[in-house]
């Protein structure tokens, strides 16, 4: 997909989401769904960047999100750092941890990376609940309650004021989406694809696998940490429940629905998945059953997700340009 149509799709999607609060600002449920769509769309985009474009099977996305949330919460609760700065500090802390996780992954082959990053997520829960986590102020299994909301120029962005927080999240989302588009369309994005297609050949052309792989770990974990921090100041409470398989799978579904390595697709995936997740909530335990079954069905019948579906139909409506074809992965 070229940069122009990428920006077009993003602009239309976020534009529509941005206008909606004018009509639904009275309904707190709708506002919550819209806010969560924004947050998850960026987190899922980062995952798509590292997995779909850079070809690294990183399964640590939820862990980075939680690390961002915990660092910001600990900074603002235990050390009384103003939330605005804590959010950015959390992004930087997460980026550092992301690079530290990335370093051992550089040497490893695909499946090992998936394992190490997934194991990292699993080890995070006992760490945060155990004595070491308590020492840094994670609150153990009780978690952290009463995280202060973000305040800028006297305006407080908390869960009681849904509309201002929504627009704060929208601004952050737009900035981060712009960053992702720029990365994908700069020589970074080309280098990621080259490394993914053939690491040896890319290296022979002078593309440093070390540099670009660490960069992608750093950038994606920075943005993910930032949004994790944003989220915790919005809901105000935090516990290790965020590390459950459920959150991980819901994030996975966004990518599956949107299509892996089809960038703006994952944003559409987030819109569909978050909305569906909320609509199915009254069904209790069957919600996750349906979600799990859906992953299987979509992977089987719509391997490129919504993006693949749109492309299929656009064959009939528009003449297909050559550069619009996805780069085969």
């Amino acid at each position: 997909m070229n940069a122009k149509s990428m920006i077009k799709i993003l602009a239309i999607t976020y534009g529509l989401i941005g206008i909606l609060p004018i009509f639904v600002s009275d309904s707190s449920i709708m506002m919550r769904i819209l806010t969560m769509i924004l947050i998850w769309s960026v987190v899922a985009s980062c995952w798509d960047l590292i997995m779909g474009y850079a070809g690294i099977f990183s399964f640590g996305q939820v862990a980075f999100y939680v690390i961002g949330a915990y660092s910001s919460a600990i900074l603002s609760v235990s050390l009384n750092v103003p939330p605005v700065f804590a959010v950015f500090a959390a992004g930087i802390i997460t980026a550092i941890i992301g690079v530290l996780v990335g370093i051992p992954c550089l040497k490893l082959a695909g499946p090992y990376i998936a394992l190490v990053t997934f194991a990292f997520q699993l080890a995070l829960e006992p760490f945060l609940k155990g004595p070491m986590g308590k020492a840094i102020g994670s609150g153990g299994s009780r978690g952290i309650i009463s995280v202060p909301p973000i305040e800028i120029f006297g305006i407080s962005f908390s869960s009681s004021e849904l509309v201002p927080f929504f627009y704060l999240a929208l601004v952050m989302t737009l900035i981060c989406s712009a960053v992702i588009v720029v990365i994908l369309k700069s020589h970074w994005g080309t280098a990621f694809l080259a490394l993914k297609d053939s690491e040896d050949f890319a290296a022979s052309l002078g593309v440093s696998a070390f540099k670009y792989k660490l960069l992608v770990f750093g950038v994606t974990s920075f943005i993910t940490g930032l949004f994790g921090a944003l989220y915790v100041h919005y809901v105000g409470i935090l516990s290790t429940r965020m590390l459950s398989m459920e959150v991980f799978t819901v994030l996975l579904i966004m990518i599956v629905v949107g299509g892996i390595g089809q960038y703006p697709g994952v944003v559409l995936g987030a819109v569909v998945t978050v909305t569906m997740n909320e609509l199915l909530r009254p069904m209790g335990i069957y919600r996750l059953l349906i979600m799990g079954g859906l992953v299987v069905v979509i992977v089987l019948f719509l391997p490129d997700g919504v993006t693949g579906l749109i492309r299929k139909f656009s064959v009939f409506s528009k003449r297909k340009k050559k550069e619009d074809r996805p780069i085969k992965t």
Binding site: Y112, L115, I260, I285, Y286, L289, G292
Partner: protein, 290 residues
């Protein structure tokens, strides 16, 4: 003191032998089909529930004999059909490994929640396979532990025999070495893939039946088992069967010692540290090939 250490070693051996059964199944399926099966742990739970349904819910006579006689074909069919209808269609694509990972993750969630919806969130307990204890001087063994140990070793030996002495096993080895070459000499590659998947499902399911007697049937156990099997295969070398065997025994021992001397909560952290340290020095695992 010495007795304590022997006790710990025995419990390590016991866990290690069952882990070996499960991890070798995973090593086999990865070595042959190159597919990551994230739903592996869910088949462990499936084995446990199968035994519970047969013995406790439906009260079919014959105890564990009936369970094993029915569970092996049942798990074989489940595994065969899953590979045939869910994993095989993905192979046409270039990025099928990632797609297979996602599909099996979705499947794992589907199965785990399915168990909870069908059987409720409560733990189910299975009857002991044999009662009583065996006393050798100061050492006391539970007969149940001995039977579990013997059965899992038998399972491993059966597997080794199957792989080395039968036509199916040789076909599996040929496909693992060179899929294209195997196809040229007339080995039905797709059927071998499905058969390997089915055999691995049997191995983990049997592991589930054996260990669930001690640990209860738990719908939430799947993720832990899946990770354990993956850690063992990665530690031993992805796709290396011998490596997985040693790795399973080492990890079983490590768990027993850490659990006894430092407390259960440190088990996961110790296992992961061992894995990370090993991978840092030997990225291909203990016995894996580069």
């Amino acid at each position: 003191m010495l007795i304590e250490i022997i006790d710990v070693i025995i419990s390590g051996l016991l866990n290690g032998s069952v882990y070996a059964l499960m991890a070798i199944g995973l090593a086999l399926v990865y070595g042959v089909t190159k597919a990551f099966n994230f739903a592996y742990g869910s088949f462990y739970t499936m084995g446990g529930y199968f035994a519970w349904v047969v013995m406790v819910q439906m009260e079919i006579p014959g105890g564990y004999y009936t369970v094993f006689l029915t569970a092996i074909p049942f798990l074989f069919i489940v595994g065969f059909l899953l590979e045939k209808f869910l994993v095989a269609p993905l192979r046409k694509r270039d990025d099928w490994q990632m797609k297979a990972m996602m599909l099996t993750l979705g499947l794992a969630l589907f199965l785990d929640i399915g168990y909870m919806a069908m059987f409720g969130p409560r733990l189910k307990s299975l009857p002991d396979i044999v009662e009583g204890t065996l006393e050798l001087g100061p050492l006391v063994f539970m007969n149940q532990d001995l039977v579990i140990f013997v059965l899992s070793i038998t399972g491993l030996l059966c597997f080794a025999w199957l792989l080395n002495n039968t036509r199916v096993g040789m076909a599996v080895q040929a496909v693992a070495q060179n899929p294209a070459g195997a196809q040229i000499v007339g080995i039905p590659k797709e059927r071998v893939f499905a058969a390997t998947f089915a055999i691995s499902t049997i191995m983990v399911g049997i592991g589930g039946i054996l260990l669930s007697q001690k640990n209860f049937v738990n719908p939430q156990a799947s993720t832990g088992i899946m990770i354990k099997a993956w850690v063992i295969t990665a530690f031993g070398g992805m796709g290396s069967i011998k490596g997985s065997l040693y790795a399973a025994l080492i990890i079983g021992m490590l768990e027993a010692f850490v659990g006894y001397y430092l407390g259960m909560i440190h088990i996961d952290i110790a296992v992961l540290t061992l894995l990370l340290v090993t991978l840092a020095f030997r990225p291909q695992g203990l016995m894996g090939r580069e």
